[in-house]
């Protein structure tokens, strides 16, 4: 299987022949184009910084669900992981902050490097890894016994961190999650009183409060209405200032709208594998692999 690896510069490897040879195959290409052009000459601020998966395999018991995935997530970028159900993209996401190992019988091989250090190295404090690599889940899951404010700061409490000014942090996180104006007058209301979309942005604010370097999002909008989805996507775009975002999505429009790079996963009954990764524009206009093309044009999946 032909696996392209992204280089740290964030530029995908494409040859000029491809651009000429193939017409744009997907209407999503134009959406994606706006996105990646603005990031076209992006240079990571800290060379060597970022998240990199090297030859990652994953198992549930004896079931091999993911094979040999290598992907680089440069800082300041959003990477979308797409593919049909059961292709291992969510499992891959969960190997990136060691949430994978919660499932009994879970196993993995390969390396995940965060700023050059393997997060699976023996002696690693898993809780510290999860502080650096935060996660937002499919279903909004604020802590219902806590107020909105307590929810945002819950990570500080859970990880027993010290913060000098909690009010500032609270406002900053809610601003970044695009929720501040809606909740600033009712920070002591319960998290459950918010709408689904607001709850999800609250979860994003909560994840940001512990200052992660990477934010993993597992289908964050699949339980939300289109309006809320757009708000979250705006939020994601703004987050790239400070965090690397990796988002799993079933919604190809979403991948096209928010991401700089897109990885396509596929399973042919065996373990899921990474078929192709390139800039989002490439994936939606001139994918190299015909299976990617079939998927993004909606011919299967």
């Amino acid at each position: 299987m032909d696996i392209l690896k992204l280089k740290g510069s964030g530029q995908a490897q494409t040859t000029s022949e491809d651009k000429v040879a193939k017409p744009e195959i997907s209407s999503l290409a134009s959406v994606a184009a706006d996105r990646s052009e603005s990031k076209g000459d992006f240079v990571p601020r800290r060379p060597g910084a970022g998240l990199e998966a090297k030859g990652v395999h994953a198992w549930f018991g004896k079931h091999h669900v993911l094979a040999n995935v290598s992907l680089n997530f440069p800082s300041g970028t959003v990477t979308a992981l797409i593919g049909p159900s059961g292709c291992g993209k969510s499992t891959f996401l969960r190997t990136l902050n060691r949430m994978h190992e919660f499932i009994p019988g879970a196993g993995m091989a390969g390396e995940v490097l965060l700023d050059g250090t393997d997060i699976y190295k023996s002696g690693t404090d898993v809780t510290k890894i999860r502080l650096k690599v935060g996660m937002v889940f499919q279903k909004p899951n604020p802590f219902p016994s806590m107020t909105i404010g307590e929810n945002v700061l819950s990570g500080i409490k859970l990880a027993q961190l010290k913060v000098s000014n909690k009010d500032d942090l609270l406002e900053e996180c809610l601003q970044r999650a695009g929720l501040w104006n809606e909740v600033k007058d009712r920070l002591s209301a319960h998290g459950g009183s918010l709408s689904g979309g607001q709850q999800q942005r609250l979860c994003i604010a909560r994840a940001l409060a512990v200052k992660p370097e990477v934010l993993l999002m597992d289908e964050p909008c699949s339980a939300l209405d289109p309006g809320s989805t757009l708000r979250i996507e705006e939020t994601i775009r703004q987050l790239t200032e400070s965090v690397i975002v990796v988002i799993v999505t079933h919604n190809m429009q979403q991948a096209a709208r928010v991401s700089d790079f897109t990885g396509f996963f596929l399973s042919d009954g065996g373990p899921g594998q990474l078929v192709e990764v390139a800039s989002t524009k490439e994936i939606f206009s001139r994918p190299k692999d015909e299976r990617t093309e079939a998927y993004v044009t909606g011919r299967f999946g």
């Binding site: 999860r130 935060g134 899951n141 990570g155 319960h190 979860c203 512990v210």
Partner: protein, 328 residues
């Protein structure tokens, strides 16, 4: 586009919506309805039985039956009028039950947390079965164990507590007699109610939504901080409910308490001192030798215990519902 504010002048007549159940459905409905009502009827009949049998006693002693501390069946031949009051026994029941709950609650919640979150996979099942089995041991066995095995040790502990915490009124004793005290009865009760509190707590702990647990872990939580922020708030209502169930069981417990508690018809708050009360045990103690009036008094005591237990259960329901509004 239709104007949403404009409704037709005349609304159509509402149709009757009926579902005709099948015969088999009717039969099943009859069976389960009967089952449900049997429980209600039995409960009601017990209440009626106790109320009619104890009517005379309540007419004679009025509220004094509940608040009075004396129990004297009287001697009509010698002109001694009977006086029946279960106040001290009621207080004693509460004291013993709360001592039991005090020891049982932390142990049971700890056991439930261990079984749900810490125990290795192979140990979970056998240990759960063993804890559940504790509830199946007949209470007379607990009573005998409490009397012969636990009491010698418990007296030593009671003396220690008295020596170092005796300045606190509850832990002082009027006389240095430590046998068959509310403290020892409470210890025996705590062992007896641990299984029920553990079972209820374990049940709610296993229902904690996985996404909340994962949310906590994804924020860098340790296991203990996850339990503190997610599991305990979610489970608080269940723990309270289990505790109340345990309290109800402790208050109704008869034989075990009868064996390890010295019944004494004066209110005693010195938990380490050999004098206590328990309505249920009192009924057993007096039943064999009771005359006709005293027997009615015991029925009345039963009625009071019945009502108190119902109130405790009702309160536990209230707590559970209030906790579940804020906790979930």
């Amino acid at each position: 586009m239709p104007d949403l504010s404009a409704l037709p002048e005349t609304l159509p007549e509402r149709r009757e919506l009926t579902t005709v159940p099948r015969f088999s459905d009717k039969v099943f409905r009859g069976v389960v309805t009967a089952g449900g009502f049997v429980a209600l009827i039995v409960l009601g009949l017990i209440a009626v039985f106790l109320a009619t049998r104890s009517f005379d006693v309540f007419r004679m002693f009025k509220l004094g039956f509940v608040t009075g501390f004396n129990w004297d069946s009287g001697d009509p031949d010698n002109g001694i009028t009977p006086i029946l009051g279960i106040g001290s026994m009621l207080i004693g029941t509460l004291v013993v039950s709360f001592v039991g709950l005090f020891f049982a609650l932390p142990i049971a919640v700890g056991t439930a947390l261990y079984l749900t979150y810490y125990a290795p996979y192979w140990l979970k099942k056998p240990m759960t079965i063993l804890v559940d089995l504790m509830a199946a041991i007949p209470s007379v066995i607990y009573g005998l164990w409490g009397f012969f095995i636990l009491m010698p040790h418990a007296i030593y502990w009671a003396k220690l507590i008295n020596k170092y915490l005796g300045w606190f009124p509850t832990f002082s004793v009027p006389l240095p007699i430590f046998e068959r005290s509310p403290f020892i009865a409470g210890l025996v009760l705590s062992v007896m109610i641990i299984p029920i509190i553990t079972a209820v707590s374990r049940e709610v702990f296993s229902q904690v939504p996985l996404d909340r647990i994962q949310a906590a872990y994804a924020l860098g939580a340790t296991k203990w901080s996850m339990i503190k922020t997610v599991v305990l708030p979610f489970g608080s209502s269940g723990i309270a409910g289990g505790a109340m169930l345990g309290l109800g069981r402790a208050m109704g417990e008869t034989v075990a308490v009868y064996l390890v508690l010295n019944l004494y018809f004066l209110p005693n708050f010195h938990v380490l001192f050999s004098a206590g009360g328990s309505v249920a045990s009192m009924i057993v103690t007096k039943f064999g030798e009771a005359g006709s009036l005293e027997l009615k008094g015991l029925m009345a005591a039963g009625l009071v215990l019945f009502i108190v237990t119902l109130v405790v259960n009702y309160l536990s329901n209230l707590i559970v519902r209030r906790a579940s509004r804020t906790g979930r």
